[in-house]
């Protein structure tokens, strides 16, 4: 849309009474920000929808006149949907600055050839003439209760130490990385920190790259914080306008937030797509208040973060042992020759067949990770010769959930899988192998996560993890070393009994 500047105020062309020169918002040099009138009686519904957000006019259900009035009373701001830095356009909502994701279109709203961002288009189009709207009036009230946490579990020594560091970081508005091995019980480590934040009236956000995790965490947190409102956000969820003290969300939904949270906890920092999507990292930065704390959770920080921790450049705390006080299973490496070539002749390496057979004979469930879907489709019929009930899953498999459930119910003996099952899913007593561990899709963190599937329950804390490979890679070696180092640290700290 177009705006005029009248008496040092921005005025949408639709509300103009006389003919004035108008511009798309991005062509206006300085957008006037007006002083907040403290005696203005603002619309509480609008405050609720807009507080801590950055929304399009189309996202709001209020008439333009009312929105404009709140602007003129200093209760909201218009920002440029696309702004320019160093002569380069940048999408203000998602931070995109790549030409690949920008395009022009003849825009009916401004009547010009208008630049728009294709990167975040699924959340409604941001173009050069689009105002992004944020609340600047009094913050919406969040309820405050003294005792929030209702949990009578206990923490392991490793968890307790980490929990104290989390509380400290939250109280002091600092950043902290919690490096907890797979199966350490990192969610419990957050409870007291979140409680401390809520008790001092802070707005807390727990973000994760994956919808599955949001769906899993929401009931758990609602359970331990029964007296507060919890918003659960993912594509298509209904809590979109809920202004809750605790928000559990996918990182993607954070694109609609702006300076909203005093505490952001980011789970699985190293997981796809957050790890590779700059726009999601940008979204997390935008969603934080200027003074706020940030807790990162991961079992597998990337190489850069590991180095920063090592050199004291990043505050971090480790939980090197699992809650059941058994060491992490250490991967074995087994050379399996040029398995891809063999596969063309419908042959699998004999040591892999043997590994699988041994598990089937012993009635022990197992997972076999495979680098690519097309390879998996070739392998499935070959492996099925050993047992007809073996199944395969991948990200776009429509029966993914049923197959995982069948595995959990022990109805099937074995699953072939792509990296889709590398994290999140746990089966209590399984062995795991990777076929083609040399493939570049198996990064250090992927391999540590895959090894982390083994020995999760206290009843079955051991198990076998084997990397079948056609040439060792750095990632394989680093993954093994990381696991060995964690076990060693845990032993030193007295966190392992066995």
């Amino acid at each position: 849309m177009r705006f005029a500047i009248v008496h040092s105020k921005l005025l949408p062309d639709k509300l103009l009474h006389s003919s004035q020169k108008t511009y798309p918002i991005s062509s206006i040099d300085q957008i006037p920000v007006l002083q907040m009138n403290p005696s203005y009686s603002y619309n509480i519904e609008l405050q609720k929808q807009l507080s801590g957000k950055q929304l399009l006019l189309d996202d709001l259900t209020f008439p333009l006149e009312e929105i404009q009035e709140h602007y003129e009373q200093g209760h909201l701001i218009y920002r440029k949907g696309i702004h320019v830095e160093k002569n380069k356009p940048i999408c203000t909502r998602c931070g995109n600055e790549s030409n690949l994701f920008f395009a022009h279109f003849p825009c009916a709203r401004c009547g010009e050839k208008c630049l728009y961002c294709r990167k975040c288009i699924m959340m409604g189009r941001i173009s050069a003439c689009t105002p992004l709207i944020s609340w600047t009036g009094p913050a919406a009230q969040v309820e405050m209760n003294r005792t929030q946490l209702s949990w009578d579990g206990s923490l392991s020594d490793g968890q307790q130490a980490a929990s104290e560091r989390v509380i400290q970081a939250i109280n002091e508005n600092k950043e902290l990385l919690v490096w907890a091995v797979c199966g350490a019980g990192k969610t419990e480590v957050l409870f007291q920190g979140i409680d401390a934040a809520l008790a001092s009236g802070k707005r807390v956000c727990l973000a994760t790259p994956r919808t599955d995790v949001v769906l899993e965490l929401t009931p758990r947190l609602k359970n331990v914080f029964p007296h507060i409102q919890v918003a659960s956000l993912y594509g298509g969820s209904e809590d979109r306008h809920l202004n809750a003290s605790l928000t559990i969300t996918t990182t993607h939904q954070l694109l609609r937030f702006y300076r909203a949270f005093d505490t952001v906890i980011l789970d699985e920092v190293d997981a796809f797509p957050y790890s590779v999507e700059e726009s999601l990292q940008y979204a997390v930065r935008q969603a934080r208040k200027q003074s706020s704390s940030m807790i990162y959770l991961t079992a597998t920080p990337n190489e850069k973060w590991q180095t920063e921790c090592l050199h004291g450049k990043k505050d971090f705390v480790t939980i090197p042992a699992r809650y059941h006080r058994h060491p992490l299973p250490v991967p074995r490496f087994q050379w399996c020759g040029n398995w891809e070539k063999g596969l063309k002749k419908n042959k699998l390496p004999p040591n892999i067949l043997q590994w699988v057979k041994k598990r089937l004979d012993a009635n022990k469930q197992c997972l076999l990770f495979i680098p690519k879907i097309d390879k998996m489709e070739k392998i499935l019929p070959l492996i099925r010769l050993l047992h007809p009930k073996i199944e395969a899953v991948h990200a776009e498999d429509p029966h993914r959930k049923e197959k995982i459930l069948a595995m959990r119910n022990k109805e099937i003996p074995m699953l072939l899988t792509t990296t889709i099952l590398e994290r999140g899913v746990t089966f209590p007593n399984i062995d795991v192998a990777v076929l083609g561990a040399e493939d570049r899709i198996f990064t250090e963190s992927a391999l540590v996560q895959i090894a982390g599937r083994v020995g999760r329950s206290a009843q079955a804390p051991g198990g076998d993890i084997t990397f079948f490979h056609y040439g060792k890679t750095n990632a394989m070696i680093r993954a093994k070393n990381q696991i060995l180092k964690m076990n060693e640290e845990a032993r030193k700290k007295g966190l392992i009994d066995y």
């Binding site: 690949l100 994701f101 279109f105 009916a108 294709r118 189009r125 173009s127």
Partner: protein, 234 residues
Amino acid sequence: MIINHCLVCFSELMPQMGWTTLFSKEESHYMCTECYVKFEKIEGETCKSCDRPLAETEPQFKVANRCLDCIRWEEDHEWVGTLERNHSLVHYNDFAKEVIARYKYRGDYLLSYLFVPLIKKKLQLISFDAIVPIPLSEERLYERGFNQAEAIILAYGYQPNNLLTRIHSEKQSKKSRSERIHLSQVFQTKINIPNKKILLIDDIYTTGSTLRHAAKVLKEAGAQSITSLTIARG
């Protein structure tokens, strides 16, 4: 326009080198092969009026090479012969739904180029004097930012002939078939177009009601014949 990434999934487009590409232009220029194959092209025997694929139509819903819906249209003296023929490019499957929704509701304008190669092929079979987009009402045009039918014509490199205007009304997609058919006329035209062959463009053919209402107005304004082309056949 130079495009080296798939318009749908953004993956890099690898030029497929080989004898075939040397002598013929690749069909799927603006998308990668993975995305291209997710669209089901309309092929084989189709209804000679609306292009509905007849292979999967139950026998009780077709007579010879016409579908029952079109037979009903053509039996109605008010509508007989209004729309000569509709052509459609792809089935309105889940993937097409997703892509078209991103194009017209989210407003990803660039996707108007997606079907240029398929349109090109189709237009060789159709003769026309003027190419006319199904218009949006002023309100809807402002809301969407562009007219999705007009954008397709522009992407193809033609000048759209905006012969029609539209009165604002409820969204079509929220109505039932019978509500759509018994709709009062929402289109208007101010110009007489004697003896012109008109090609109407829209994104989806669902019941054919929109296109027939538009065709009717053009016919009354003197057009000789009206055919239509849509991206998807619902």
